[in-house]
């Protein structure tokens, strides 16, 4: 069942169209990943869904009711984790939580218990009395999430919650998202980190230039490039003409060079290795390593846009 549905959503800033005719559905109990490079329009989309920004066009329905007509419908059941650290640095962790608990009207009797609970979820119980300005980047991110959980939201929107943090904190956050989801919370998770979206999300929407260019389960999306295999070839040196010669092989779909490593897209189950070795021998190139991989989401984005996510 659709918890939230954005229909033909558009947002224009002066002449720049940040979001263009976007359609997205978040189902109850699922984690929907919104994947896209920086500037794709993810944060603008989130702001509109969270009723912070008025769309130029389109409609947003929460449980079938128009959010644009009555924003309270979604606000009371929404938890928002902004990309920025939306905390008061001069407050302790506990004071920040107390502020937001009061703001979200968590009943006075439940506040202490609820604060202890979210501190435990984000693993900050032992640092609750420290000032936030003394926290590490990862701890701030975790507290940033905790503040959005105080009022037990049904829908949690997380905007790039792992930007700029250490791997340990990132893993903690990813685990936390999984746990929240198993307890029934629906989550809209935006990121430009493909691995996170692959790990966490039931469904993925890929966004570029303000539009959803593909949407579906991970395997469905990968299926779009399933007819491809990827061959990574490491060489000792580069020689002019070799790359062009490889591209001329019938089974080769594309070829990219990263220093001394070639990424070659092949038709599925194509056997080009004998030909590749022959060409290498002809051009006097010594092959140091070969790796064959199945396509990933990164390749889907590359396939759809002709650009790499990381290049943005």
């Amino acid at each position: 069942m659709a918890l939230l549905e954005a229909i033909e959503l558009s947002k224009t800033f002066q002449k720049h169209k940040a979001v263009d005719d976007l359609h997205i559905t978040i189902r109850e109990g699922e984690v929907l990943g919104l994947l896209g490079p920086n500037g794709a329009g993810k944060s603008t989309t989130i702001s509109m869904i969270a009723s912070l920004l008025e769309p130029s066009r389109g409609e947003i329905l929460y449980k079938g009711k128009s959010v644009l007509k009555k924003s309270e419908i979604i606000r009371k059941e929404l938890g928002l984790v902004p990309q920025e650290i939306a905390l008061y640095p001069e407050f302790t962790g506990k004071e920040n939580l107390m502020f937001f608990a009061r703001l979200y009207k968590v009943p006075k009797k439940e506040r202490a218990e609820r604060i202890a609970e979210v501190l435990s979820i984000v693993g900050l119980s032992d640092r609750a009395s420290d000032k936030v300005e003394k926290y590490s980047g990862g701890m701030k991110r975790r507290l940033n999430i905790a503040c959005a959980l105080l009022h037990k939201p049904k829908l949690l929107i997380m905007d790039e919650p792992t930007v700029g943090i250490d791997p340990q904190s990132r893993n903690h956050i990813l685990e936390m998202v999984k746990q929240l989801n198993t307890k029934g919370m629906s989550i809209l998770y935006t990121s430009h980190y493909m691995e996170e979206v692959e790990t966490l999300c039931d469904r993925i929407a890929i966004m570029d230039h303000g539009s959803i260019i593909a949407e579906g389960k991970k395997q469905d999306l990968i299926g779009m490039v399933q007819d491809q295999d990827l061959l990574y070839v490491s060489v000792e040196q580069q020689v002019a003409g070799f790359e062009q010669a490889v591209k001329e092989i019938d089974e080769v779909l594309f070829m990219e060079r990263e220093d001394f490593r070639y990424k070659i897209g092949l038709k599925q189950q194509a056997e080009i290795l004998p030909e590749l070795f022959t060409l290498a021998h002809e051009y006097g190139i010594r092959i140091q390593g070969i790796d064959i991989q199945s396509p990933r989401l990164e390749d889907v984005f590359l396939h759809l846009t002709g650009r790499s996510l990381r290049d943005e």
Partner: protein, 387 residues
């Protein structure tokens, strides 16, 4: 709204140093400026063209004027002193004027010599007029008494009796309009410095505390607040209340400091005085909101605030009495500053002992300013937040 206010007050510990500095600075500046006021009496030369009996009395009355440092000189000495810059001005009492003063009749025309338009000339003129008026009044009264006693007492003796009577502050007042101006400017250096600097430094406290809304926006805390079950109107209200409390408490402390430590006489209208100050804080808050509307972040507000505060203080009469400003454009511009209206109202209450009617115009000006600027500021802030 209580949650928002709780958050703001809790965050005050971040700003207590600023608050303390803005409390200390007006006191320090008042101390130095009051001292400077004592030392910088206007040096004025007096020339009596003719010997009359009232001359001595006139000189005594002129010396009572605290803003003047008088020297009785000859015409040539006066001329030379003014040209050399030794005297701020020179007042020439010719025979006709002195006879009129002696007789207690007007109008009396005095001649003031000066080299250039100076900020102090109006104050000097007012002080001279006050002293001359007092003497003319006494002479008028003396004449009346002589007429009554039918020559049993000499004019000199009656005059002395009247002077003594004035010193005992008999409830006798004679409306004098013998000189050209009807208004009288009162100047108290301590009042000017304490009130002026209090109003000036409070601008910083008020605007910087209100500037927290820009921090909320840039840190996206505002986004969280917006989706919380609290309206943005309440969020604005909480910020205004917080800013008001901080600014008003600062003024309150400084007024009390003036009363109990500096022995300032705030007059008999303390309730009205604090009401005017409340209006002033609200108007300054509205200016702050307008600046927040123009600013994208706290850094921009930090840059704008000193420009606005210093300009307002200069043209609004915080640094020096507005009465000494003669430029029409500056005087018109002064009306757009809350300081101008607050200073005028406070002078009416404290220096002139006027009541509520004298401050109505200034109070309505401050309230009007508050309403208009706050609405514009909020609209600009909301517009800025959407982009």
């Amino acid at each position: 709204m209580r949650a928002l206010l709780w958050g703001r007050l809790k965050g005050f510990r971040k700003q207590w140093v600023l608050y303390l500095i803005m409390l200390i600075l007006p006191i320090v500046f008042t101390y130095f400026f009051s001292m400077m006021g004592d030392q910088s009496k206007y040096k004025v030369s007096i020339v009596f063209d003719h010997d009359v009996a009232v001359q001595e009395k006139l000189l005594d009355e002129l010396k009572k004027e605290e803003t003047l440092q008088l020297e009785n000189v000859s015409s040539s000495e006066m001329e030379e002193g003014i040209v050399n810059g030794g005297y701020e001005a020179g007042i020439y009492f010719d025979e006709k004027a002195l006879n009129k003063i002696e007789q207690g009749i007007g109008p009396i025309d005095l001649v003031m010599y000066r080299t250039k338009d100076g900020a102090s000339l109006e104050l000097i003129e007012q002080a001279i007029m006050k002293a001359v008026n007092r003497v003319v009044n006494q002479q008028q009264l003396s004449k009346t008494i002589i007429a009554e006693v039918e020559g049993n007492l000499s004019l000199r003796n009656v005059s002395q009796l009247v002077q003594n009577a004035y010193q005992e502050e008999l409830p006798v007042t004679v409306q004098a309009s013998t000189l050209e101006s009807e208004t009288e400017v009162k100047y108290d250096p301590q009042f000017q410095a304490l009130v002026g600097f209090t109003l000036f430094f409070t601008i910083y406290t008020i605007i910087f505390t209100l500037g927290e809304i820009l921090e909320d926006r840039s840190k996206n805390i505002l986004a969280r607040i917006t989706i919380a079950p609290v309206s943005t109107t309440k969020w604005f209200m909480a910020n205004f209340i917080y800013s008001f409390l901080v600014g008003y408490s600062q003024i309150f402390i400084l007024i009390l400091f003036g009363k109990y430590v500096m022995n300032m006489d705030w007059g008999d209208h303390l309730t009205l005085l604090f009401t005017v100050l409340a209006f002033y804080v609200m108007a300054t808050m509205a200016i702050g909101m307008l600046l927040c509307g123009f600013s994208k972040n706290m850094q921009q507000l930090n840059a704008l605030t000193p420009i606005v505060a210093v300009s307002f203080a200069m043209i609004g009469g915080a640094y020096w009495p507005i009465e000494i400003v003669s430029n029409e454009i500056l005087l018109k511009l002064a009306h757009i500053t809350p300081i101008y209206h607050a200073m005028n109202a406070l002078k009416s209450l404290v220096l002139y002992d006027h009541g509520v009617t004298a401050i109505l115009t200034e109070s309505f000006s401050l309230l009007g300013m508050t309403l208009i600027l706050i609405v514009i500021g909020i609209l600009l802030f909301k517009k800025q937040s959407k982009t």
